[in-house]
Amino acid sequence: VQEKEELIEEWQPEPLVPPVPKDHPALNYNVVSGPPTHIITVNGKECINFASFNFLGLLDNEKVKSAAQASLKKYGVGTCGPRGFYGTFDVHLELEERLAKFMRTEEAIIYSYGFATIASAIPAYSKRGDIVFVDEAACFAIQKGLQASRSNIKLFKHNDMADLERLLKEQETEDQKNPRKARVTRRFIVVEGLYMNTGDVCPLPELIKLKYKYKVRIFLEESLSFGVLGEHGRGITEHFGINIDDIDLISANMENSLASIGGFCCGRSFIIDHQRLSGQGYCFSASLPPLLAAAAIEALNIMEDNPEKVLRLKLSLKLESSLYEISGLKVVGESFSPALHLQLEESCGSRENDVKLLKRVVDYCMNSGIALTQARYLEKEEKCLPPPSIRVVVTVEQTEQELDKAASLLKEAAQSVLN
């Protein structure tokens, strides 16, 4: 007993958190005064916004705001409960119906937080012992969902269908060795429509072929492509002309094109209904505040009534081709992706120095009236950390002159900082 007392006396734990250096790049946030709309006031300076994911410009749309105001007058702000316990409002049911109708699926389910949507959906279906094939460049929310599910994760190279097929074939040979286990092991492929980390589109038609050949289910994450791809903004399935029933689950967040908060999953009732009892972020968390749901409904109305907004976005994207001519910075991402990355053509050796260099470029632009930001990552937690980059977001509200100004400022900044 004496020894035990001594051990207890002697043990010293680590401090709860290590100290963070004062000049850590992620510690000093930009302060936005006022609404983060097209003209944004950052750190006291008025700039044109090239950093918020407000693709269709619905953030300060008057109709959306008045719909939210009406909802505020009727319901107050919070819902004071999860969906199971008096937290289901008629606006939630209406939003789910509208989303299901818009995406042409049987059912939709809403979450109150965009990150939690895919992070709760994956563990609801995939459990310990199941196999998930996921793209290397999948976003952090998908990684957390996979971690929570405790399944076997197999990463395949970004957008490399040959690599994926190799993994699937390997799995097939494994299955033949143990057919009894194979009969109960579920398989999933998780991909994004438009990748946040690289701006690329996933090759969905090939994936569908692989799906039927190897009997794997597909979960598609469409946070960036909802409202952007496809003739009406229905996402990558409309873009490629694929039958939506071929995708088992589509998950998206409403925080980009719909300029609200939260996320949704849509698909057949057989699949979506399961999340109502086993989606952690749905059952154990308060529901979405009604004013945000009403804002999303109105934004959806506007998207449906004005499909030309989506077309105008595509035109804006064509105009930003001048970004490709900046020496020292290369553009990463498809030409029709509204969220692009600008990476250094040549790294200067360490990630820290690259980040510092890009910060100087960003500061130069901010001082001259273009608001940009670096793409932020948790360096130690990401499975495949993307290289440091500047995020450029093209929205429907930016004019030709503003795009030209941004491109020329970036050119100047790159020249002055990198040379």
Binding site: K4, L7, I8, W11, P13, L16, V17, P18, P19, V20, A26, L27, Y29, S33, G34, P35, P36, T37, A51, S52, N54, L59, V64, A68, L72, K73, K74, G76, V77, G78, C80, F85, Y86, G87, T88, D90, L93, Y113, F115, A116, K144, A148, A182, R186, R187, A259, F270, I271, Q280, G281, F284, S285, A286, P289, L291, A371, Q374, R376, Y377, R391
Partner: protein
Amino acid sequence: LNHIVHNGGLYKRPFNEAFEETPMLVAVLTYVGYGVLTLFGYLRDFMRQWKIEKCQNATEREEQKDFVPLYQDFENFYNRNLYMRIRDSWNRPICSVPGAKVDMMERVSHDYNWTFTYTGRVIKDIINMGSYNYLGFAQKAGTCQEAAAKVLSQYGAGVCSTRQEMGNLDKHEELEKLVARFLGVESAMAYGMGFATNSMNIPALVGKGCLILSDELNHASLVLGARLSGATIRIFKHNNMQSLEKLLKDAIVHGQPRTRRPWKKILILVEGIYSMEGSIVRLPEVIALKKKYKSYLYLDEAHSIGALGPSGRGVVEYFGLSPEDVDVMMGTFTKSFGAAGGYIGGKKELIDYLRTYSHSAVYATSLSPPVVEQIITSMKCIMGEDGTNVGKARVQQLAENTRYFRRRLKEMGFIIYGNEDSPVVPLMLYMPAKIGAFGREMLKRNIGVVVVGFPATPIIESRARFCLSAAHTKEMLDTALKEINEVGDLLQLKYSRHRLVPLLDRPFDETTYEETED
């Protein structure tokens, strides 16, 4: 540990918490009830398989019938055969502000709850004993709503960016300073979702090589956060300080399981009020233990912030302790502030670290501006900074309502769990049939209650849970009590034999969640 033996030394007020033992006959009958339901379940499944009964489940696509089945048949047995029978007690749609009285959309089912249709009628003015509206801030008019409306027209509803990129508004900074002042800590940070606050920040604080000591009945978000962190998790019996101390001693003396190296850190996860039990954490003892064994304390005040304490500052104020003793004070804005989101408060180093390394700051959208304004206005009201006494009056009203309601229910003879001062009141039902019956009977009498069964509670301990609010007037409570009395007689729910056993050793239920070893 002799300074804990004399409870009076650490506790400045009496701590009355009790969980009356389940009467033996009731327990037996409950098991019999579940047994009958299970048998019928097998029978119905058999009939569905042989097409004698129509199968109303949604099914897999024809093209995908040869894929590995998505759900195991047994996984859904409980869902198909027990939950489906009383499904109408949950997910009740409402169409008004979730205040003390609420309007509900009437729905009927013609096929035993497989599908619902809305009749179009609205049941008005149901007394709401299910919403988490402790201080009555769920209002559709008043200073909070006006302020939120102003901010909504100025800022819009969404933010479209993360905190570290372009989503840090001046409103967020204002909110965080206010929260820090409210709690009495150096610094605070706010997040968009209460659930995500736990599941995204615990992994940032602890990792492999650390030990988490978690209460048996912790919320799913704490369990998920602990699992995602990769640390070793050990569970101590609910609110049982001897169990906690034993685990602490063993951990320090024996070190990590295979390598015997000392643990890097020990983090204790507790909640202020446990929402299914109505119990309050024994905070003075936990803090004394934490100091003796040099571990860190993470306090989740989701239900207790605003609801306990003479000025609504939570369980720390309730016990008269200092907020500096709690390393990480976490809470949510959904319950007492009528908004949405969560926060973490603590020392400046902690919050600076979270600003840099929290998953939510880097990858998740920040709080919506009108929601932030609602929190700011309601918090100022509770603190009395809006120039009125409204906040203080509400806190006192809630405490009075709690004591009155609990006393009357106990007098009637129901078994009520939890602490005398907790506004969460679980009333034991036990038998599966009574779960559905209680919910429906109360709705017929225009009172909305929440009933909970397995798996949120142990299988024989299903209960009805009342959440009191400062917005409930004495008349509403009296009406509710009268109806509960009637229904209690009708359903024979008055099990109490007034034999209160303090701190019963509750059996450890492994279905709650698993322990992970390195």
